[in-house]
């Protein structure tokens, strides 16, 4: 039941949404379709072959998520995808998994970003549930047309704490008790701790910006000169 576009997937970039049993995929799929993508679920490495962009969504704890990714044979393909600097979007747990490990359950995670996932310090309430302001540290095309400090929807208790190398990947911060990194970007990788698919108009705009930055492989091929 993936939401392939009625207007023809050929013209839309193909987004593979990793399905590893971590809850609600309907909202992210529907939001990506609204944002102009063609969407298919990825349950194994073969499902990435035709994809133009990869999305790792997810809520919950790191250890069971890593186990399911291992079992699906997706851990190495995801690492390679990111190492090749192909378009990648990590949402919530999908961002946390990019770091080296999680303090929540001690799981070793993908390790494509330096730092660990830590419990939010000095938070007045946990989980951090609700709308909060995302304050940008620098410009990024994903936030084009979205006012600074716009509200996005969060549901989490842990967040990636970028260590040392953090400043170069940190894109935005949010304050709940203390500031934490709520968005990271490096090359064509984007990670957000909030849920753009649950953040109303601004969330849809962010996803539309992400989709717009991805060119479908078919179109790219058509653009190549025919001569050798």
């Amino acid at each position: 039941m993936s939401g392939t576009s009625p207007t023809g997937p050929g013209s839309r970039p193909r987004f593979a949404v990793v399905d590893y049993g971590a809850g609600n995929l309907v909202s992210i799929e529907q939001a990506l379709v609204s944002a102009g993508a063609a969407v298919a679920r990825a349950t194994g490495p073969d499902d990435l072959r035709d994809a133009d962009a990869l999305v790792v969504p997810g809520v919950g704890a790191a250890a069971p998520a890593m186990e399911r990714l291992e079992r699906a044979g997706l851990v190495e393909p995801i690492r390679r995808w990111i190492a090749d600097d192909r378009p990648f979007l990590g949402i919530c747990l999908g961002l946390q998994l990019l770091f080296e490990g999680s303090d929540e359950d001690g799981a070793a995670t993908l390790g494509v970003l330096r730092g660990r996932t830590r419990r939010l310090d000095d938070a007045p309430s946990l989980p951090h549930i609700g709308w909060n302001q995302v304050e940008r540290r620098r410009d990024h095309p994903a936030f084009a047309g979205i006012p600074d400090a716009a509200d996005f929807y969060f549901v989490h208790s842990y967040a990636g704490a970028a260590d040392g190398a953090g400043d170069e990947v940190a894109l935005a911060t949010t304050t709940h008790g203390r500031p934490f990194v709520s968005a990271v970007a490096r090359g064509r990788l984007l990670g957000v701790q909030f849920h753009p698919e649950r953040s109303g108009e601004d969330g849809l705009r962010l996803l539309a910006n992400v989709v717009a930055a991805v060119r479908p492989a078919s179109v790219a091929r058509d653009d190549l000169p025919v001569t050798a």
Binding site: A61, P127, I129, G130, D151, S157
Partner: protein, 257 residues
């Protein structure tokens, strides 16, 4: 800064939104996905669907409604009513809900809260507590289940604490004395529970006007406020409630013009 959330609640029976007084005398108030979309547009911060059709054949209808809603309203959706197992919770999440609220089944088997939290994360598990004053003069409340029809003798504050220890990520606290009466939230009940737990608490039951929402937060300590009929019947808009909150110095998300 984390915003105070304003949440319209849609009581759903047999595929329609209904509202009654104290869970009886139900009146049809519309198509769930249509109302959901309208509220999202008007600035709702989340939506709650409570399935009050006790009949098992209502389940398929509910899942279909959840899925249709998830396609139209891109704000968080909590679904409650009749979820009794990890598998049932999985079905509701797969249909497009972000959170599931457990009520009667959690009282019957508190372990269910932990099982659901381990599988889907605490953030997806809301425990709904329907409470009624033991005695109008004493600050003590009893948990009632089965849509307010059955008393349990369980102390509501103790149950709130227990539920969060088991892994509830949020509590939805409804005063059955006030529900549908438009006589204001039970701020004493809210304060007793918000003082006892660290997870977010959603206030429910009794909202009449914008000032009631403000009091639920300032006096009751609520993190979010929920109401049904005053929004369905357009007695007050979500914008009215947020304006009153902002005027009282509370942090709310701006409603798009």
């Amino acid at each position: 800064m984390l915003r105070i959330r304003v949440i319209p609640c849609l009581d759903v029976a047999n595929g329609r939104v209904v509202k009654g007084t104290r869970f009886v005398d139900l009146v049809d108030e519309g198509d769930p996905p249509e109302l959901a979309e309208r509220y999202a547009r008007e600035g709702a911060d989340e939506l709650v669907f409570l399935d009050i059709s006790a009949a098992p054949e209502g389940r398929g209808t509910l899942l279909e409604i959840v899925e249709r809603t998830a396609r139209r309203a891109f704000i968080p959706l909590t679904v409650g009513g009749g979820v009794r197992s990890v598998d049932e919770m999985r079905d509701v999440l797969r249909a497009g809900a972000d959170k599931v609220s457990l009520n009667t089944a959690a009282v019957a088997d508190p372990e269910l809260i932990g099982a659901c939290a381990r599988r889907f994360g605490s953030q997806a598990v809301v425990v709904a507590i329907d409470a009624r004053a033991f005695d109008a003069r004493a600050a003590a409340w009893e948990v009632v289940v089965k849509g307010g029809r059955e008393a349990t003798g369980l102390d509501a504050v103790a149950w709130a604490r227990r539920a969060t220890e088991q892994g509830a990520g949020e509590l939805l606290v409804t005063s059955i004395d006030r529900d549908g009466t438009q006589s204001g939230f039970d701020t004493a009940l809210l304060r007793a529970i918000t003082d006892a737990v660290t997870v977010p608490v959603i206030a429910s039951g009794g909202a009449a006007g914008p000032d009631d929402f403000v009091r639920a937060v300032l006096e009751g300590g609520a993190d979010a406020v929920l109401a049904a009929s005053i929004f369905h019947r357009r007695q007050h808009s979500i914008g009215d409630v947020k304006a009153a909150m902002a005027a009282a110095g509370l942090s709310v998300r701006a409603v798009a013009a």
